[in-house]
Each structure stands twice: as C-alpha cells, then as structure tokens.
C-alpha cells in the first residue's frame, strides 16, 4: 500500500515538473509583454516587471505593427469562411444522404480528395490563377479560398452526422408535404446544431491560424490575415521591440485561446473528429 502511495507521489512530482516546464515559455512571454522596451533590455526575462506596459505594447502591435487590420480581416475570413463552408458542405451532405444522386460515395470521395494533398500541392497554380484573375491580394480572394479548403472536412463530419438522423421523422415530414429544401432546413439543420457549432469553431481556428496561404495569396497590410501579419511583424521588429512583438503574438492568439477556454470540451471532441477524418 505504501509503495503504491510512493509511486503516485513520484508521478505527481514528475507531472508538476513537466507542467512548470510547459508553462515557462508562455509565462516568460507574458512577463516580457508586460515590460517597456527599455525595461526588457535591462532586466532578466524572468524578473517581475516594474510597471504595466502591456496595454501600450498591445496598442503598438495593433496600430504601428499593423496587426489591427489583419486581426479584423481574419475575423472576416475565419467567421464567414467557416460559415459558408458549413452551408455548402451541409447542402452537399444532405444531397448525398437524403436525395441520393447516382454514386453518392464517388461524389463524396471527389470532394473529400481536397484534404488528401499537402498544401504545397495547391500553391503554384493558385498563385498564378489569382494573378491572372486579379484575385491576388484581395479580401474576396482569400475568403473564397478559405471557404473551399474548409469544405471537405465539414462534409466528412456532417455526412456522418446526417446518417444518424431517423428516417421516421423524415417520412412523417414528407407526408406533411414538406419539400426537400424544407426537410433540409426544418429537420436536418436543427438536428445538427451541436455538430455544426463544434465544426464552426474548429474551422474558425484552422483558418485563423493559417500562415502559408496568407503569405502566398496576399501581401498588403489591410488584406493579409493575422498570422501573415504576425510573421511580418516579427521579421521586422523582433530585435527592436521585443515586448511589442510578443504582445502581438499574444494578441493573435486571443480568439483561439478564448475558443479553447470557453469551449475546450467541444474542441477536444473536434480534434477526435479530425483524427478520424483529416
């Protein structure tokens, strides 16, 4: 019995050490973001700040560092992109499960094939397509792409979910004279609210965190998404204004951390979904 207590004590000790190790980078980043530039240069990173310069640093990252514009753009890309992807994917999923076109599994694979390739496979033709259609460096261009890339995974999850909807309800609705679109809007969608919310947050996070397409398909400060803005900021200022850049990194993480804190359980479930799908 005491041996069991001993080994459990050891475990707790090891875990405490690992927790401290894991939190140190975030802790020190936060501490440095609290300091003024001068103070950050003169003190050791783990020394407590004298004043409270966080607001000033955030303000600097937002306006002088031009992260504010990217922040607003990314809200649009992630919010609208995820929502549109869910609308299109749910329509397609409804067609595959309820309306049964010929070869539904073939159609599913065609759309799902969009997630199979590494992203490098899309870059070159997209870049030149965007150049020739003047979608390059435009908000609509990025929004269209983010919508497209979110669709396959949304379809995967929604199609799975739709197959669990009871056929009895649908037969009853048909007898009541509901059209197909009525069945989609009045039965399929209301019965999928939980899955759709989890999916929305999951896709919002993905689009928000994207860097690769942001730097490939845009360049202007008022078009490029948040992570492209942050990478640009760090490239220019990382040695000149360390607290400002770190405040920027924290600022860029606020929405996804909020999503994680508020809806952590859903997000972890979303990750389990992703394992079976992406």
């Amino acid at each position: 019995m005491s041996r069991k207590h001993f080994s459990r004590g050891m475990l707790m000790l090891v875990m405490t050490f690992l927790v401290i190790l894991w939190m140190t980078p975030l802790f020190i980043t936060f501490m440095t973001a609290l300091k003024t530039q001068k103070e950050a240069g003169a003190t050791l990173p783990w020394q407590l700040p004298q004043g409270f310069a966080l607001i000033d640093n955030l303000r600097w990252a937002w306006s002088a560092g031009k992260l504010g514009q990217s922040f607003v753009q990314s809200m649009l890309y992630a919010g609208v992109g995820a929502a549109l992807a869910i609308v299109f994917a749910s329509l397609a999923g409804f067609a595959l499960v309820q309306l049964r076109p010929s070869r539904p599994f073939g159609w599913f694979l065609l759309i799902y094939a969009g997630t199979v390739f590494p992203f490098q496979m899309y870059l070159l033709p997209l870049f030149y397509l965007y150049q020739t259609t003047s979608l390059y460096d435009t908000r609509i261009g990025l929004l269209l792409f983010y919508t497209a890339i979110a669709i396959p995974f949304c379809l995967f999850v929604l199609r799975n979910h739709f197959t669990t909807i009871s056929q009895e309800i649908i037969e009853a609705a048909k007898i009541d004279g509901l059209s197909n679109f009525g069945i989609y809007r009045r039965i399929y969608i209301p019965l999928s609210v939980a899955a759709i919310s989890a999916l929305f947050l999951f896709q919002f996070t993905w689009i928000w965190n994207d860097l690769l397409f942001g730097i490939t398909l845009a360049k202007s400060a008022d078009v490029r998404p948040i992570m492209a803005g942050l990478a640009g900021l760090q490239g220019i200022y990382s040695s000149q204004n360390t607290p400002g850049v770190l405040a920027g990194a924290l600022l860029a993480s606020v929405p996804t951390i909020l999503i994680f804190i508020l809806l952590g359980r859903y997000l972890l479930r979303g990750m389990t979904l992703a394992t079976s799908g992406e």
Binding site: L44, Y122, A148, L246, A249
Partner: protein, 305 residues
C-alpha cells in the same frame, strides 16, 4: 445504383416529365456549390501542379513539357539532399518525442486526479497558433534570449550560443519547440484510447502479481494498438507538412541548412522562381503523404463502399 433505376422508372411512367426531370437534377443542385469550390480551388491546382512538375515553366510563357527532367535534376542538388535529410530527421524525431512523450503523459495522467487541468496545460501551446509558438521560441532562443540568459545565470555560459544560426542546433531547437506545441494533442488522443480499453484484463493481471511495467507492456500497449496506429500515421503525415514553425523561426536558413521539403518547395517556387522544381517537390511530398495517409484512410472507410 438503386436510385438510378428508380428514377428511370419514374421518368418513363410519370406523365409530368418536367417534374421527374426536376427530381433527377435536384441532388446535383445541392452538390454543385461544394463541388465547384473544391474543384476550382483544390482539385484543379493539385492536378495542375502535378502537370507542371513535368514541364519547364517561368510563370509567364506556356509550360514546356520535359518529362522527368525536373525530378532527375532535383535529386542531384545538394539543397534538396539537405532538405530530404532534415525531413527524415523531423519524421523520426516526431515519433521519438511528441508521440512517445504523449503516450507517457497519457499513461501518467490517467492514474492521477485533475485530468482536466493537465489536458489544458499540455494542450494550451497548441491552442496558440504555430506562428505564435514560433515567435515565442524565436524570442526564447535569440542570442540575447531567455535560454542563453538562463545558462549564463546558472554558470553554464559556455553553452550559450546562437541557437537558430548554427546547424544542427537550429533543427534541434525547432524540434524542441515542435514537441512543446504538439505533445498535448497526442496525449489527449492516447488518453481517449486508454479510457476506452476494458479494465478486466488489467485487474486480472494485477491479481496474478504483474507489475505496472509488465501490465503496460503486455496488456495496455497491445489493446491500445488501434489508436497508436492513428496517432503515429497522423504524426508522420504532419511532420512532412511542418512549414509555419520553420518559416517563422529560421526561414529554412541560414544558407538553407534547416529546410525541410515543405519549406524547400516554397522557397524554390516563390523565392527562386524555379517553378518546375517547386512543383516536382510538391508532387514528391504528395506521393509520400498519400502513401502514409492510405493506412488510416483505409481504416476510416473500412465499413463503406
């Protein structure tokens, strides 16, 4: 299949031909937006990249077909060889650290209280983006950064160095940053697996006097095999795809010493403008990733089609 013949029958029998045509076309109307978006922005570019990989192309004039020349040429380039070697290091290191450590943490956390707390702590680095993580580690590892300051403070100043500029240290420290960010997700997946395995065999083994390690080695690990397969395949596939972290921390440098295939593809395409090379690296990467993906895609779609 069945529906096809059904609609055909309706089509022949129904007096209102227009109505049955509507029935036939309706599913495709619902499918159309998704197929259009995926086709234009994902499938067409993927197919076109594959085509470009067999051409000489400057982005302005029409591509010229040159067969496999890009592939033959690229494998001879030292840059590509370094990149390939780094990629393999990333794959192996991902299995050694984020996956093994994730499994270890899951086994530990499964045996002590406060699971929710530990899940949050180890998942948090993943909740901030790869880009933010890279900015944070760039700050930790800069010549005047936290790591060097700490080493000097504890009297190990001799070990302090420009971590991101000296190979192979730049790759090693990026692997540490990557481990910090991704171990939590593996831990959570393993935890899900651990909590779904039956407890009876473990109880029986305990009664027979097996120790903790024996139980883990001979009972838990074999029962965990399905989830382990998923985690390992995902980790391997993702390690081939790492881009953000490397691009923000070193841009693959200095002198392209820390590039992986994903980074080399980007640099060849958008910095050196050798588009054919870029496309052939992308195609090679796709083939590797798809081969690995087949393992778990097969397990997902086992029940279907």
């Amino acid at each position: 299949m069945n529906t096809e013949t059904e609609t055909a029958v309706i089509y022949r029998q129904s007096p209102a031909k227009l109505h049955s045509f509507r029935n036939w076309v309706e599913p495709y109307l619902y499918l159309f937006p998704a197929v259009l978006f995926v086709g234009v922005f994902l499938l067409y570019p993927a197919v076109y990249t594959f085509y470009i990989s067999f051409t000489k192309w400057d982005g302005l004039n029409p591509p010229q077909f040159i067969g496999l020349q890009n592939y033959f040429q690229i494998v001879k380039e030292p840059v590509f060889q370094t990149s390939l070697r780094n990629t393999l290091i990333w794959v192996v290191a991902t299995l050694l650290f984020p996956v093994m450590l994730g499994l270890m943490l899951a086994v530990f956390v499964n045996r002590i209280p406060l699971q929710g707390f530990y899940k949050s702590v180890f998942y948090l680095p993943y909740a901030i983006s790869a880009t933010s993580g890279a900015v944070i580690w760039g700050f930790m590892l800069s010549p005047v950064g936290v790591v060097n300051a700490f080493l000097r403070e504890v009297g190990l100043g001799g070990l302090a160095r420009s971590w991101l500029i000296i190979p192979p240290w730049n790759t090693i420290v990026m692997l540490i940053a990557f481990t910090w960010q991704t171990t939590g997700t593996n831990m959570i997946l393993f935890l899900v697996g651990l909590q779904s395995i039956p407890t009876d065999p473990i109880e029986a083994a305990k009664l027979d006097g097996a120790n903790a390690f024996q139980i883990f080695r001979h009972i838990t690990l074999p029962l965990l095999k399905p989830i382990t397969t998923v985690v390992i395949t995902l980790a391997v596939v993702n390690s081939f795809k790492v881009f953000d972290l490397i691009w923000v921390m070193t841009q693959g440098g200095p002198y392209r010493s820390s590039e992986t295939l994903a980074v080399t593809m980007y640099r060849e395409s958008f910095v050196q403008f050798r588009l054919g090379f870029g496309a052939s690296i992308a195609s090679l990467l796709s083939i590797i990733v798809i081969l690995f993906s087949v393992v778990y895609l097969r397990s997902i779609f086992r029940q279907e089609s």
